[in-house]
């Protein structure tokens, strides 16, 4: 976008809207300013390299990337089915998929415990057949985080699939392309920007997940203590570490989201 066009578009916007928008941005920027103001800059290097923080960074990356991958494997097909297949109860399935957005994450975590815990409806047979116990394990963290973050991918991609012009797919089919070819060569490229946006939202939500994680997977350094859990524990006892961890989270997510935006959203 060149500068001339940008000026033109600003001029069309009523002043009141600009003022409100500025207030909106301020609401997001002020907490960051507050965080920076309390940051113990001198000790920052030693704080962020402490074993608690390093362990938490590692676990958070594993959990957020793992959850995004799991969401891709399960969520993309789910979005496709919800968008393209008409079946009885589709509205109910769609509502169930969105449930994690509404439920307090702690409740979601407890519900996961009832279902997938060692004594849970599914968890008990799983345990007796395979010896796998999800709670208090890193896999448990990935499951909890996926539960909370996958809906972001499903709604974004489903919306894109429903809104896209399906005549391109029909045209490809008329020209003899098979289902997989159409999906790969026509559908996916057309919804690509939305998919990237969905992945970004999913990953960001996964990175910040707290309630379901601590309820379902517990809190143990090196095994289940992700960055948000480490912040929570540190906030009561060691505020400097808590602030340092928060800064890391801000830095990681800003970097990834800004890079994504430059790389993909603008390009398309």
């Amino acid at each position: 976008m060149n500068t001339a066009r940008r000026h033109a578009s600003v001029r069309r916007v009523p002043t009141a809207l600009v003022v409100l928008a500025a207030c909106g941005v301020a609401l997001f920027i002020l907490p960051i300013v507050g965080l920076l103001g309390r940051t113990p800059w001198g000790d920052l290097a030693s704080l962020v390299t402490s074993t608690i923080v390093v362990d938490a960074i590692r676990l958070s990356l594993i959990a957020s990337i793992g959850a995004t991958a799991l969401s891709a494997i399960l969520g993309l097909p789910l979005a496709y089915v919800l968008a393209r297949v008409e079946f009885r109860g589709r509205a109910i399935v769609r509502a169930v998929v969105l449930l994690p957005l509404v439920l307090p994450p702690v409740v979601g975590g407890a519900a996961l415990l009832f279902a997938l815990g060692r004594r849970g409806v599914i968890g008990e047979p799983l345990y007796s057949l395979t010896g796998i116990v999800l709670p208090f394990s890193t896999w448990g963290v990935i499951v909890a985080v996926t539960f909370v973050s996958m809906p972001f991918l499903v709604i974004t991609v489903e919306g894109a699939l429903r809104n896209m012009d399906q005549r391109f797919e029909h045209a490809a089919a008329t020209l003899g392309a098979g289902n997989w070819t159409i999906l790969r060569r026509v559908t996916l490229p057309m919804i690509w920007p939305s998919m990237i946006a969905g992945f970004a939202l999913t990953w960001a939500r996964a990175l910040g997940e707290f309630g379901a994680t601590i309820t379902f997977a517990g809190n143990l350094q090196g095994r289940t203590q992700t960055l948000p859990l480490a912040v929570f524990v540190a906030l009561e006892t060691d505020r400097d570490t808590a602030i340092a961890i928060s800064l890391i989270m801000v830095a990681i997510s800003m970097t990834v989201l800004v890079l994504l935006r430059d790389r993909w959203w603008r390009a398309t």
Binding site: A110, L113, F114, G117, R118, R119, V133, P135, F136, I214, T215, G218, N219, L220, R223, T224, F232, V233, L235, E236, T237
Partner: protein, 253 residues
């Protein structure tokens, strides 16, 4: 500080309660006794409130329940209360030091740590040594909350190095998972174990390793209703009060 907003909400609530209470005294209504009590006393003190009010219909008890430290801040900030019951003698000492207490505080109850296991004890726990068993899922409260620091003190004194699987944010989260048998062994206040007795069994810590916290109670200098406050404290330390406290797992010193 985490207690910030709650503190001010409860200060506001207390002030509002006092205001309505004062207005009510002009008629034949009972006078209010405001009792600021530690959150761990919630169940026991609501039973005591009922018993006290039927023994003394001239008084109406209003319980103001929060963490001891938050209550201390309220009292030092001048929120009107008649009685302060703390779960921590040091917190009470702060109020005494600030000249807020009439006379000296009275220790009316003690709370001890117990091992908590799921109903039926599926892990076959028999003693503190079981905290070291890798095969068990062991949970404690996080170090930053009282049940976590006390549990670690018990284990440290007993020379036990627990193989902890999770540090739970508070005692309710820990008891939930013990009750669901997802955690095989934890350590909580006996009163919390009693409150969760339908799903959780308690195993006492051997007396030589027992650690307990004391609960002091005192009437405040600034009490709007000193007679009511004194009557409430007399009731708490009476046999009837002691019986109620014991029913909730407290030990009477």
């Amino acid at each position: 500080m985490r207690s910030g907003p709650y503190l001010w909400i409860s200060v506001g609530a207390t002030v509002a309660l006092i205001a309505t209470g004062c207005a009510a005294t002009t008629s034949e209504e009972p006078t209010d006794v405001v009792v600021s009590a530690a959150a761990s006393l919630s169940d026991a003190f609501s039973d005591i409130e009922t018993a006290f009010e039927s023994a003394h219909p001239e008084f109406d008890v209003l319980l103001n329940l929060a963490g001891s430290a938050a209550l201390r801040e309220q009292i030092l900030e001048g929120a009107p209360a008649d009685v302060f019951a703390s779960a921590n003698p040091e917190v009470m000492a702060d109020v005494v030091e600030a000249g807020g207490v009439d006379g000296s505080p009275h220790v009316f109850a003690a709370n001890t740590m117990v091992m908590a296991v799921p109903g039926g004890n599926p892990g076959g726990v028999i003693g503190l040594g079981d905290f070291e068993r890798e095969a068990l899922f062991v949970g404690l409260c996080a170090q930053s909350v009282p049940c976590g620091s006390l549990a670690r003190q018990v284990l440290l004194d007993a020379n036990v190095e627990p193989s902890v699987d999770t540090n739970e944010p508070d005692v309710r989260a820990l008891l939930l998972k013990i009750g669901l048998a997802e955690i095989d062994l934890g350590m909580v206040y006996v009163t919390d174990a009693v409150a969760a007795a339908s799903t959780v069994d308690a195993i006492p810590v051997p007396p030589q390793n027992a650690v307990s916290t004391l609960y002091p109670i005192a009437r405040l200098v600034a009490a709007p209703n000193p007679d009511g406050g004194d009557a409430f404290i007399r009731f708490v330390v009476s046999d009837q009060g002691a019986e109620i406290l014991e029913g909730h797992g407290f030990v009477i010193p």
